[in-house]
């Protein structure tokens, strides 16, 4: 049993719900089928295929909850998993934060599934890898990369009438191309719902260009520079910031969105409604985004809709849980399934042309928190860092370590380019002034 369609999922979950004796019973049925190929040193290293389906049954009696799961679907197994979750619930300590499940909901139309991705074969993957390896070999370069495509489905049903079903496809490709002497390295990545959009050869050309262009990088003094962060360089800092938007942490005083005690007893607990960023900053989640769509519901079956996190530089919403929403007397706002950051129409090339002096950053690596209060992060540039002068890339430069906060970064915006899909999100290239590089790295 691998992929299960909506009708079959509904029948199976109805059968499970009918077996329940609990006050509340909610079930998730989640499945994934995936294939991958990995190559290095200009040859395929590993490749494989995997699939699995899991049924999760959550039973609740009062404030007690138990969860059990199984991956067999005959009648005996279904009865067993329901009884087991009920037994666990009876053994569990009371959970004071337990909230009731949701009733029937209405959902936006899903855009997450594209058929072509479900039909990829081992030969397709081998050919895609070869399209990346061949030009690299020809140019006396060394390619390594990874391609993975997956088809997933998620279904949820409970005894209060809720049912939701979604299928999704995803394709991830990344390639690193290095010179034989290890003095140059370039990288490119692609992320789609539709496998037909993937051109591994074309993406590899960018990595080839960066590999050749980054040989004999010059040293520049660490300090504050205007940078152009490609979407792959900016995405993690934006993701990290949005992942720290949680309302409860802010209300409890342990977030960059908390008000300090020293601001007085009458101050609000969090910074909701405050202008914290440049007014061009607009970051939101939207399941219906045509380029980077997300499932139209959360894992608990609650509908996802478009929600602004930051608009006009102002903190507009903070995600919470149903429990914290009730506790703080606010609306329940789930986290959203994607991050969309609005940008402009300028291409990356135009942004370079319009830069007098700056640093082009292909991507950032090994990003870690230095200070959760200021969201100060450290990490390094990697696989293509270049000095820009008078609108042109002048020469490659050695990689830097940065110590910077996205809060500072999003106050120092010089320009935002056309957003691109990356890691399921949509992020623009960003031109940022005074980005802090703290030391040099010898790594290529």
């Amino acid at each position: 049993m691998t992929m299960i369609n909506q009708e079959t999922a509904k029948k199976l979950l109805s059968k499970v719900i009918a077996l329940s004796k609990a006050d509340e019973c909610e079930c998730n049925l989640d499945g994934r089928t995936a294939g991958n190929i990995r190559y290095a040193r200009n040859t395929v290293s590993t490749a494989g295929e995997e699939s699995d389906v899991v049924l999760v049954v959550q039973s609740t009696f009062g404030k007690k909850m138990g969860v059990a799961t199984i991956n067999e679907f005959d009648d005996v197994s279904l009865e067993k998993v329901v009884r087991r979750s009920e037994e666990l619930a009876k053994l569990a300590p009371d959970n004071e934060e337990l909230m009731p499940v949701f009733g029937p909901q209405k959902y936006l139309e899903s855009r997450t599934y594209v058929e072509s991705t479900a039909n990829v074969t081992p030969d397709d993957r081998a050919n895609a890898a070869e399209a990346s390896i061949a030009p690299s070999k020809k140019g006396k370069l060394v390619a390594s990369g990874f391609l993975e495509e997956e088809v997933t489905f998620n279904a949820i049903m409970n005894n209060k009438g809720l049912f939701a079903y979604n299928t999704a496809t995803n394709v991830d490709f990344s390639v690193t191309i290095r010179t034989e002497d290890g003095k140059g390295s370039g990288w490119a990545t692609r992320n789609y719902s539709d496998y037909k959009m993937l051109d591994t050869g074309k993406a590899s050309q960018i990595a080839i260009q960066k590999a050749k262009g980054s040989v004999d990088a010059k040293e520049m003094e660490p300090g504050k520079y205007t940078v152009i962060l490609e979407p792959a360089a900016g995405v993690q800092l934006i993701e990290n910031m949005i992942n720290n938007f949680d309302q409860r942490s802010a209300d409890e005083g342990r977030s960059f969105l908390s008000k300090k005690k020293s601001e007085g007893k009458d101050a609000p607990l969090n910074k909701l409604g405050e202008k914290m960023f440049d007014e061009r900053v607009h970051i939101y989640s939207d399941p219906s985004n045509p380029i980077a769509p997300a499932a139209p519901f959360e894992q608990n079956g609650f509908p996802r809709e478009k929600v602004d996190w930051i608009k006009d530089g102002i903190v507009k919403n903070m995600p919470n849980t149903p429990y914290w929403a009730k506790h703080s007397k606010t609306a329940y706002i789930p986290g959203g399934g994607n991050i969309i950051m609005a940008g402009g129409n300028e291409s990356l090339e135009d942004m370079i042309k319009n830069t007098r002096r700056g640093v082009l950053v292909t991507r950032l690596w090994y990003i870690r928190t230095l200070d959760p209060q200021t969201l100060l992060y450290t990490g390094l540039t990697r696989d293509g860092t270049f000095y820009i002068e008078n609108g042109e890339i002048k020469y490659p430069i050695k990689n830097f370590r940065f110590n910077e906060s996205p809060i500072v970064m999003l106050n120092n915006i010089e320009g935002l380019g056309k957003p691109e899909r990356i890691d399921g999100n949509l992020i623009p290239p960003m031109k940022i002034r005074d980005f802090t590089f703290s030391s040099l790295s010898d790594a290529v």
């Binding site: 995997e50 390639v175 409890e252 370590r401 790594a443």
Partner: protein, 542 residues
């Protein structure tokens, strides 16, 4: 916390962890089910191996795995979640036309197992079109039927849930009674029941246990908040690790208590509460050069990042170039026999045999008997970490036994063994190391850590920082991180404490590979001094 949200602990300091979420949950009583009969596992494995050979595989191995996990998560006075997971299935790896192929299935009927083996061969054949250098395996003698178990005293899976929850809640109470405002504590239990069989006549049954009990405490002050994580280690032990025996405590005057093979989580949580209050009042470090004295619960991660990863042969050769990166410790440096990785007192060794360590097994995931070997001897780079298909590339004939897969579902590949720093032959104490430092900082616990993709430039923080003046620990300080270059750093190593101070730290969820897999690895060392290291101040106004 909602169900399965135990993986979303990012806001309380666990964002860097990669938790295995592939398991399926089962009830507590089912955890105690007897493992699958060995004779049946052998029968299934033989079906897979024969099916692979029939389709043209020249080599095949089958791993039948049953992976049990338990997570107990608590927050302040609340038990948020108790999750039991089980994942069982078979992974078949083959060589056909000189190329690797892999497939796995959770459906363990004879027919499905044979189909998985055939699929693995089909994948290998599809990829062999573009193969330029056929796989070469270092020889391994078939073991016949053998078995091994982690030497545990108390099987943590058999300890009642109530006892586990009460211990965590007691720790939470200790932290909050002593100055913490919030605390999350977690108990992770892992039991890998792994059966390995190969076409070379090995049938290896292993029962592996690991445990970790971290906590994440926070205190809120007038102008912000501070965090302090637990100083316990993840270990290859049973529930006995949480006995908190006095003999396993190493007390550093004016600073923290270090824990060896037994952890007192309640005592550590109480200390965390007090230290959090001190952190809120502590002065911010003056940036500059300091002599650093690094506690084992901190230095383990520096070893992991600056020695463990750069000496993985797959990184050195370029197999990880697209993800984890390559390595500055290139083959020419190793071949020269003169590459001074560290000072003359630096001796680092690899093993998968140290008792209580996370890497401790009798055989790796391709049937190689595990062992101990030198990586850096008297400061010189002498070897790497390799698997069967890699050692020929460094002119060696015997695999190091470093092959591992996180589950039956994923293909096995080269993973870091335990990598440890040998203690001083003279059995001096941590305080003996501190007493000669005029201007220094003592750092305990693992904090923020970041290193480049070739492992040159790194920047590490910690949990606790103490200023050392004229040989004595004086005050707790804050906002410390040190920035250095790997070779420069290890060459500034001037003194280590002796074997009485030697402790194992570890990483429970080390990530590597594409698709990414987690593995657990320990690092042993005693308190060690590094001179003249660049310290930066991480505080910033926004």
């Amino acid at each position: 916390m909602e169900r399965r949200d135990f993986i979303k602990l990012g806001g309380v300091g666990m964002g860097s962890l990669m938790l295995p979420i592939s398991g399926i949950a089962v009830s507590a009583e089912q955890m105690l089910d007897k493992p699958m009969d060995v004779a049946y596992k052998k029968k299934l494995a033989d079906i897979a191996l024969n099916a692979a050979k029939a389709k043209g595989a020249t080599y095949a191995d089958a791993r039948i795995g049953r992976y049990l996990n338990q997570f107990v998560t608590t927050r302040e006075k609340n038990v948020d979640n108790i999750v039991n997971t089980e994942s069982a299935g078979i992974g078949v790896r083959v060589i056909a036309n000189g190329t690797w192929g892999f497939a796995s299935t959770s459906n363990m009927t004879p027919d499905s197992v044979a189909k998985a083996a055939e699929k693995a061969v089909a994948v290998a054949l599809a990829n062999s079109k573009f193969q330029t250098s056929p796989v070469q395996l270092a020889p391994v003698k078939g073991t016949g039927e053998v078995s091994w178990q982690t030497p545990i005293q108390k099987n943590a899976m058999e300890v009642p849930i109530k006892e586990k929850a009460e211990l965590l809640l007691e720790a939470n109470n200790a932290a909050m009674s002593n100055g913490a405002n919030y605390i999350t504590s977690v108990l992770f239990l892992v039991n890998e029941q792994k059966y390995f069989a190969s076409t070379e006549g090995s049938y290896i049954d292993q029962d592996i246990h690991r445990l970790w009990a971290p906590f994440f405490a926070t205190a809120i002050g007038e102008n912000g908040f501070k965090q302090r994580n637990g100083l316990g280690n993840p270990v290859g032990m049973g529930f006995e690790y949480l006995d908190g025996l006095e003999k396993d405590k190493i007390k550093i005057k004016g600073a923290n208590v270090g824990y060896n093979n037994s952890y007192d989580i309640v005592e550590d949580a109480a200390a965390a509460g007090k230290q959090l209050q001190a952190k809120l009042k502590a002065k911010s470090v003056e940036p500059g050069k300091y002599d650093l004295v690094l506690d084992p619960a901190h230095l383990m991660l520096t070893i992991h990042e600056s020695v463990g990863h750069p000496l993985e042969l797959d990184r050195v050769l370029g197999y990880e170039a697209n993800f984890a990166g390559t390595s500055f410790a290139t083959l020419d440096k190793w071949k020269s026999g003169k590459f001074q990785y560290g000072s003359e007192i630096v001796n680092l060794f690899a093993d998968k045999t140290q008792p209580y360590s996370l890497g401790n097994v009798a055989y790796d995931d391709e049937g190689v008997k595990t062992k101990e070997w030198d990586l850096i001897k008297d400061g010189i780079l002498v070897n790497y970490q390799a698997t069967r298909d890699q050692v020929h590339m460094i002119d060696q004939k015997e695999s190091h036994g470093c092959c591992y897969s996180q589950s039956w579902r994923d293909v096995q590949f080269q993973r870091m063994p335990n990598v440890s720093l040998k203690p001083n032959k003279k059995d001096i104490s941590a305080e003996d190391v501190i007493k000669d430092v005029e201007k220094g900082i003592y750092i305990a616990g693992r904090g923020s850590y970041s290193i480049d993709q070739q492992r040159y430039n790194f920047q590490f923080g910690g949990q606790l920082f103490y200023e050392i003046k004229d040989g004595e620990i004086v005050d707790q300080i804050e906002d410390v991180a040190y920035q250095s270059n790997t070779q420069q750093f290890w060459n500034s190593c001037v003194q280590t404490a002796g074997k009485s101070d030697y402790r194992l730290g570890g990483s429970f969820f080390d990530g590597k590979g594409q698709p990414s897999q987690a593995s657990a690895v320990s690092h042993g060392c005693s308190t060690t001094r590094f001179n003249d290291i660049n310290v930066i101040n991480t505080a910033r106004n926004v």
